[in-house]
Symmetry: C2
Subunit: 207 residues, 2 copies
DNA sequence: TAGATTGTTAATCGATTAACAATC
DNA sequence: TAGATTGTTAATCGATTAACAATC
């Protein structure tokens, strides 16, 4: 906790390390060298060694890294063992699709529910999830409140909903809305499908 | 086309420029300074001027940038006027949700259909879209084939499906699968929801 | 003209990489 | 031991920023 936070460039790579380490473990490997990991990630061995070092993962001289050790340490740093509580707000297409995301099945995150403001939707059940009134988030006692919300409302209500969530003490938002959010003391990660499509389009145009 | 390609850092900002320029235009503004744009984007005025300069958007000395001019030029560079054809492959939750994405309603991309391999799914209609057999992509005559596919299959079939698409001449993939793809001559943009959640979790753990 | 703002140069900053002594 | 591989330093690279002359 609250140790030195790594630069964003490194944070982006953490899930990829976990992915490859897990894959190697599934293939019954027990150790891996920085060179081997580097090749999988498409980066240099130097960078792998530096990243792992910064994470506090120690290799073994002339030998490499123990896969289980490295995986455990990174998963711990990412907070995967704490099973963050997550609420989805916005029961449109995307919100619904996300309720059955693999991440919410014992992979470090616990989905506590899907919420919306629309009276037409509240109470209906889709995907085995009953849509709840977003206002009922207030009634959840502090310690059980989600730390992360997935924001999948319309772009128009995105900002207001984000503020509402922040007022309840939510400190992190995974934003699927077509809006750039900026709230004090709230971490935001954007998933802008629009932007990604445009980036592909730009690159296609210039190849 | 095929002029000098900008560094990824700049490409990432292009959709944001478009977003803010559009917003300003909706507010009946006609000009904007680099300082004003910079504040909205959360970057420096220097960077805005440099970005726009690299894009071939010329400002006017002592005056600023004409919003319509800047927007048109960037939209052109991104290829928004060419209306790229897009096919979704994988008719699971995510694939379905994406069929009704705003991007496919006259915003520069044209959805030509949603495809799957599962005989159980093929032919069924959801969201007004009939699911087609992925093999029928072959039958589309060259010029009408999509340039971009949205890959939303299971992680297991992701790689095989991506190769299949590449063999049909598809040159760009928006990848929603939990896999890192790497194909020669195919542009990939990843939307890794898992990774984004983990990044939030890491940051929460270290704040 | 005076004021505002661009376009561009040169300085800065920070991440990446190469290289290699230390070590098992 | 010889070979492999780490951990770390110093060099490199490239994006960002500050500064300011040029210009409307």
């Amino acid at each position: 906790m609250q140790k030195n936070i790594l630069p964003r460039e490194v944070i982006i790579r953490l899930p990829k390390y976990l992915r490859y380490l897990r894959e190697l473990a599934l293939h019954d490997k027990t150790k891996v060298s920085s060179g081997e990991l580097a090749e999988k990630l498409g980066i240099t061995a130097s960078q792998v060694r530096r990243d792992l070092g910064q994470l506090g993962v120690n290799g073994h001289n002339g030998f490499g890294y123990l896969i289980s050790e490295a995986h455990r340490k990174i998963a711990e740093e990412v907070g995967l063992y704490d099973s963050q509580k997550v609420a989805i707000i916005g029961a449109g297409n995307i919100g619904h699709a996300l309720t059955s995301h693999r991440m919410f099945r014992g992979r470090g995150f616990e989905l506590i529910g899907i919420y919306d403001r629309d009276p037409e939707l509240i109470g209906t059940v889709i995907n085995g999830q009953q849509i709840k009134d977003v206002e009922t988030l207030r009634d959840i006692p502090e310690p059980e409140r989600p730390g992360i919300i997935v924001l999948a409302t319309s772009s128009e209500s995105a900002e207001e909903t984000a503020r509402f969530a922040a007022s309840l003490g939510i400190r992190a938002i995974l934003n699927f809305c077509y809006t750039d959010l900026d709230l004090d003391d709230v971490l935001i990660e954007n998933i802008h499908i629009d932007d990604s499509l445009m980036m592909l389009s730009y690159q296609l145009n210039h190849k």
